[in-house]
């Protein structure tokens, strides 16, 4: 199965990757080739086979909702590329008048 250029553009937008023209073309070819190999799974008989998302019998894990102080919160904020007065600076995402 080969994928076309429109699909690459659509998936790049979903993935939030601003790929160059060259990268898009290379990825179109490479993803098509990879999908060709991957399509072998179509040959597996999975009728009436349940899906396994996770190999463990997972249960919800509950704990008390207790406030715990993080020893040095400033270190967390300082990870951000832009910060001010202990807050992370972000671009405005809402329009204002």
């Amino acid at each position: 199965m080969s994928i076309d250029r429109d699909t690459v553009d659509h998936v790049a937008l979903l993935a939030r990757l601003a790929l160059s023209e060259q990268e898009r073309e290379t990825l179109r070819e490479q993803l098509s080739a990879i999908l060709e190999h991957i399509n072998v799974i179509g040959e597996a008989d999975t009728s009436r086979v349940p899906a396994t998302a996770h190999i463990l019998p997972l249960e919800n894990v509950m704990r008390d909702d207790k406030v715990q102080a993080f020893p040095h919160p400033e270190v967390l904020v300082e990870q951000a590329p832009a910060h001010e007065d202990g807050y992370i600076r972000v671009r405005a995402v809402l329009e204002h008048e």
């Binding site: 690459v8 993935a15 601003a18 990879i34 799974i41 998302a53």
Partner: protein
């Protein structure tokens, strides 16, 4: 008399306990070894010399005060750069996290610190653990100590090379589709992927969360047992960590495997496996037979679908996990003025991620996108069930399964870079254990034209003790694990201080 950097952890810890050796001496020997060989091997992204010497000094002081210390106290270890270390940068070998200094320790690091381990550095890897050669590092490639023109495997190639070259006595890696076992095979080290849930993933930077598991590299089965003992066990901070008692792994090393039922899956000896690898593995199976194991053939019929299922599931999970790198909260941020948030995030991610990471994000996003979910993701999860059922059936009849870890010995740097799918096939024999959650160990199993061959032993869930027992019994009958690569330019170690 071996050099200090050639000692195993268990040998060194006995000498430390008898006060015949100090951790400062041992740590200096490893830092000197790093200084000698690192220019050729390039296993480390960051060498933490100062921190290592401080940790060593503290352990020596505690020992002199009469403290009772465990087998890892004062032992120099290397940590894959995907595991968070408080105060020491953790890059994932990516531009995206090049300057990221974690504000907390991963649980495995906290446990090793409590055990008194000495950290000599953070090791190189394929970016975000995506690759089988360590060539996808955004910084530089790591070279195989057994042949510097060849790859050490990946993605934990730095950890594997560091242990193989004597730069650290043991190391931690992470294994999502073979990233501990395959580099272990290519570098002649003992490399263990525990059962999914055996070791906490808290503080392990996520690649594919339903598959990722941290595991140790060592130069003997006993050392791997010591490392696993320190990191295994339930952690309330990882909801997928299993509350199952941790056995005494060293107690399992009895040397006795008589009557052990060993299954040999014939799907692991298919076309594509090099003759030299096949022959070495067959010799290793003969050795196990001579030690009293009962060897029989078995079948894992859905093995051929493993790589395909993996390359849907792992990229899908990765595309979600890596969505957090947006240039706003932490990590790389592009200097670019725009009011368009999507444009800004997309440009940052394009500049911060390397080629393979982008390829996998694209593949995973595609597989999860509207209209393809049933054909790819759902189908792959059904195949995952079939692969798990293959193992469940095999373990009704056998105690362990044995085959090659990798279809080839170490390949040349650059050889598989232009063909992504050829690179993906390196993990054809390691991926199934990740999909099914089973533990697997790669042990030094012989050589083919001077290059190491790894033998993989796969066990039932929580069967690590049995895997280590097999590895240890095999070591007692062979000397492969004790051989050293000859590194050019490596002078004998400096005079001991």
């Amino acid at each position: 008399m071996p050099e200090l950097w050639q000692l195993t952890i268990s040998e060194a810890s006995e000498r430390l306990a008898r006060r015949e050796l100090s951790s400062i001496e041992l740590t200096h020997a490893h830092l000197d070894r790093i200084a000698q060989v690192e220019g050729n091997v390039r296993a480390f992204v960051t060498v933490t010399e100062e921190q290592a010497l401080q940790q060593a000094e503290r352990i020596d002081r505690r020992r002199s005060e009469g403290a009772r210390l465990g087998p890892l106290a004062g032992i120099p270890l290397a940590i894959k750069d995907v595991i968070c270390t408080e105060g020491t940068r953790t890059t994932c070998s990516s531009r995206m996290l090049e300057h990221f200094v974690p504000p907390y320790d991963a649980t495995v690091i906290a446990r090793l610190r409590a055990a008194g381990a000495v950290f000599v550095g953070k090791t190189n890897m394929d970016e975000f653990a995506m690759g089988s050669s360590t060539e996808n590092s955004a910084f530089f490639a790591t070279h195989n100590p057994w042949d510097l023109k060849r790859v050490p495997g990946g993605s934990s190639g730095g950890s594997a090379a560091a242990v193989a070259a004597g730069e650290a006595m043991g190391a931690l890696g992470s294994d999502t589709g073979g990233s501990v076992r395959q580099p272990g095979a290519l570098t002649n080290t003992v490399a263990l992927k525990p059962t999914y849930g055996r070791v906490s993933r808290y503080g392990l930077i996520a690649f594919a969360s339903s598959l990722d598991q941290i595991g140790p590299f060592a130069r003997s089965a006993r050392d791997a047992a010591i490392l696993l003992q320190a990191i295994a066990g339930h952690d309330p901070r990882d909801s997928t960590s299993v509350n199952e008692p941790v056995p005494d792994y060293q107690a399992a090393l009895t040397g006795d495997i008589s009557g052990l039922r060993v299954g040999v899956p014939h799907e692991y000896f298919v076309e594509g496996t090099e003759d030299g690898v096949r022959q070495a593995v067959e010799r290793a199976i003969d050795t196990l037979r001579s030690l009293g194991a009962e060897v029989g053939e078995c079948s894992l019929p859905h093995t051929r679908f493993g790589v395909a299922a993996y390359y849907i599931i792992a990229p899908s999970e990765a595309s979600a996990n890596l969505a957090r790198y947006d240039g706003i909260k932490y990590g790389f941020s592009l200097r670019h003025e725009t009011d368009d948030l999507i444009e800004y995030v997309s440009l940052t991610r394009d500049a911060g991620f390397g080629t393979e990471v982008k390829r996998r994000i694209m593949l995973g996003t595609y597989a999860l996108s509207s209209g393809y979910y049933d054909a790819y993701y759902l189908k792959a999860e059904q195949v995952r069930t079939l692969i798990k059922q293959d193992f469940d059936r095999a373990f009704q009849q056998f105690d362990v399964l044995v085959g090659p870890t990798s279809p080839t010995v170490a390949f040349k740097l650059g050889e598989k870079l232009s063909d992504p799918y050829a690179m993906y096939l390196n993990d054809v024999f390691t991926i199934p254990a990740n999909l099914a959650g089973n533990p697997g160990i790669s042990i030094p199993g012989g050589f083919s034209a001077g290059l190491p061959v790894g033998v993989q032993v796969i066990g039932p869930a929580f069967g690590e003790a049995t895997l280590l027992r097999v590895a240890d019994a095999f070591e007692r009958a062979t000397d492969y694990h004790a051989r050293w690569p000859e590194l050019p330019g490596a002078r004998p170690a400096r005079k001991r201080r």
